[in-house]
Symmetry: C2
Subunit: 174 residues, 2 copies
DNA sequence: TCCTTCATGTAACCTGTTACATGATTCC
DNA sequence: GGAATCATGTAACAGGTTACATGAAGGA
């Protein structure tokens, strides 16, 4: 369902687009929220067309198909957003690794955490730069709230990794 | 791979256990990090036994099989933890919904966010209580770092939802 | 005796990944 | 003419969910 909704959302914001366009848009605009490849996007668009959520509005060169969101698609998207059934089972590899951390020797765990802190810091910097670029362009900022969330997430993870490394070092020495 | 590692981790901490035990342990100890059902756990344990990561150590009543982690299993777990290839594609429904939020009328979006903030607050309270209970028992706290991470996550999400709701209300009025 | 809990499994289906496959257009 | 990019797809497999299926043991 989420993939469908992401595609409908992108079509709603960007206007008509092909599977190819949507694949790139995914990468460019919501890669920090949801990920999908063309091999999943193309079949999904065909199913969505069969279900009346999108229509093929125009056919271009090289077999290009320009999809547009329908009334029905727009209605479904809104319904899904407002709907309250959004408890999905947690599956967070970072948290799982955190859980298993005590299996390692303290110095190993500390090294691991310092490395992760660095990677989270790098992603944080990238998102902050993206945010600044958007602000400069004065974009209406469709992804503004999600970007803010992404920044908070990266900051939280970086701080957790750093502070947990400190804590393990302290406990190891003390 | 993650499910395997979670099972190996639980076996390492708890000692020998059956698929049934592990299903409950999953629920009880790492539900905020990883989720799995018995229908996935039983076949996985069989495959892991075939791969030599666990062994059936004892057979009890009602066809119960007590699994124990092997040397090889322990080695593989440690290897996986230290290995650096842990970039998995983001797939975060909360963030996706955040991205799509501007599709709604401001009052709708605000109501949605207030509701989410409340649910995150409730989960935060539950994790904090769990943490206090563990501290009281004086447990060595295998899941200590993961629990700390979970608490930070819930707090971050709650604050984001609350502050984004405030922001949308301000923008709507101003 | 009956209910609950213990205990293990399978089958159909959905979501997503990796790799393979093909061909048109445009730009140099 | 050749390379890059545009453009769409399929097949095999891995991971996960839902529902179905079965039966033994223990406690009231």
């Amino acid at each position: 369902m989420s993939l469908r909704m992401a595609l409908l959302g992108l079509l709603a914001v960007s206007g008509p687009a092909s599977g190819y366009d949507l694949t790139k848009l995914f990468e460019k605009s919501i890669s920090h929220a949801w990920h999908a490849r063309h091999s999943q996007i193309y079949p999904e668009l065909n199913k969505m067309a069969a279900d009346g959520l999108v229509t093929v509005q125009e056919e271009g060169p090289r077999g290009r198909k320009g999809y547009a969101i329908t009334e029905e698609g727009s209605r479904r998207l809104r319904e899904w957003l407002v709907g309250t059934e959004h408890f999905r089972p947690v599956r967070d590899e970072g948290a799982l690794r955190a859980f298993l951390l005590p299996m390692l020797e303290p110095p190993e765990a500390v090294a691991l955490l310092r490395g992760e802190a660095e990677r989270y810091g790098a992603k944080l910097a990238a998102l902050e730069e993206f945010d600044r670029a958007k602000a400069r362009e004065g974009k209406s900022g469709f992804g503004r709230y999600a970007l803010d969330l992404g920044i908070r997430q990266m900051r939280m993870m970086r701080d957790w990794a750093e502070e947990t490394a400190d804590r393990i070092e302290r406990d190891d020495r003390g």
